[in-house]
Symmetry: C2
Subunit: 295 residues, 2 copies
């Protein structure tokens, strides 16, 4: 491991990177999984690196669905196993969902390593070894177990490949996805899209289980029926736009106000000119004025 100085401004993000690199080194995570992790980092940054209210709502609905399901299955890939093995096992045990390893870059060695990691974290049974190519996909994610993903009515797919998500939905299974990118095919295709970091989402879901376990099926269905995934997607995108606007204001020296209106800081007389110039920039960009560019 490369040593990262503690005073590096991105120490935590870099340390998480080191941890997922360790996942590659011990054979669970694919190298392509590192790139997927990077994409997630970028979207997490845009969402504010916290669980937004609409994601919390989606997490609650996901828990209801897992409790209502007759044969719920949690699909585990190399990134999920590296990031939150104990939480995946806890979710499985508390909701009665089966665990099944399913990989895009499948090798039997990786399957075994991930099964071992989940068992070390308390899992009793982990499916995935005896998978057959039962899904209409041309890649390795087609391979699922007949009693697992193939027969599931509700599937929880953290960090999913969009291609398979669509196939599962076409098979009339209810799909719950965890994906920080609200624009991804996975997020657009799933029935419940949790736009949150898996490491934040799972503990929150686990905390919610006792409350929902005390409710009757009718009340759980009422929560599920009232849910609209489009609200969650549009809300996550709106949050990103708000954070981007705040950054624009920061660059232009305009104070961000909670009420949404923009206040300018005129204290420093030297600043006044800068603010005026920056307001001009903002105007040009918004108008996409031709004078912005050279010929």
């Amino acid at each position: 491991m490369t040593e990262i100085p503690k005073n590096h401004p991105r120490y935590e993000s870099l340390m998480t990177r080191e941890q997922i690199v360790a996942g590659v080194e011990n054979g669970m995570t694919s190298r392509q999984g590192l790139i997927a992790q990077g994409r997630g980092e970028a979207f997490d940054y845009l969402i504010g690196e916290k669980t937004i209210e609409s994601a919390d709502y989606a997490e609650a609905v996901a828990v209801c669905l897992l409790l209502l399901a007759e044969n719920p299955v949690i699909s585990v890939n190399g990134n999920a196993a590296a990031l939150a093995p104990a939480e995946l096992v806890a979710l499985s045990q508390l909701t009665g969902a089966k665990l099944e390893v399913n990989l895009f870059h499948r090798t039997e060695e990786r399957i075994q390593k991930i099964i071992s990691a989940l068992k070390e974290n308390g899992a009793d049974v982990v499916l995935g070894e005896n998978a057959e190519p039962l899904l209409p996909l041309e890649h390795e994610r087609a391979k699922v177990e007949r009693d697992g993903i193939f027969d599931a009515d509700v599937i929880f797919v953290p960090l999913e490949d969009g291609d398979r998500c669509k196939v599962l939905a076409d098979m009339k299974k209810l799909v719950i996805a965890v994906d920080l990118n609200p624009l991804s095919r996975t997020a657009q295709t799933a029935h419940v899209s949790i736009i949150d970091n898996l490491k934040r989402a799972l503990p929150k879901m686990i905390d919610m289980i006792p409350e929902f376990k005390n409710m009757n099926e009718e009340d759980l269905w009422e929560i599920v029926d009232a849910y609209d995934n489009n609200v969650v997607l549009v809300d996550a995108i709106e949050t990103m736009k708000e954070n981007l606007t705040a950054k624009q204001n920061e660059i232009l020296g305009i104070e961000n106000d909670d009420a949404g209106s923009k206040k300018e800081k005129p204290e420093d007389p030297r600043k006044a000119g800068r603010i005026q110039r920056n307001a001009e920039i903002a105007r040009k960009v918004l108008m996409r004025g031709g004078d912005l560019m050279m010929e």
Copy 2:
């Protein structure tokens, strides 16, 4: 290499991933570099995977600065070398800028592999082997050559670590960065921030060189003096917001109009209800109405 079926909807993106994975396999690119690549992919998607007008402008100014500089240096890391070695060498030869390898996750083996790759692509001299810890940084990027980065007046830093970018700027060097993330410390600190994919930016810059080489220094300085990096940053963020809005409208079934106004499609009577419902969602999200969420 895992075989990717050609009909996979993200075939090209996945193939690029395979290529950078190959960079890791041959020892040039660090595993952490794969995560950085993933972050770049996400921001490239948000910018529309094309060179926006303001990035084209920044690229032109960058070429002017490289031509005006007395001791310009191109800093090369493992990702840049894996993605565009020939273009880096061409930029160096056409502007007279030196090439220097500088790595965050530095090993002498990686330095040698990258130097070899650049020489295989036609480079004559590549600095980086005889680097000393001359920059006030606690990590390996402190190591630079005295005649190279340490003495440079203009530095071109594709895919940069934000930490070093600040140190270089503090040393009164003019820094040109290529970074798809307009919010990064690198983009915020550099004097010229090219918010573009390195693989698109370099060929464009190379194409511009003959035109600017024919201009006199005074005219080149005029272009440089008129440049305002804040315009470029704010414009890139604005583009991302526009693309996010387009995606929101797509989710809500609202047609995106070039003129910016939103047209609704009322043809299908069954659709009318959906559009009305989705308009209601849009309103709630924008108001962040409490009724969006459960208790």
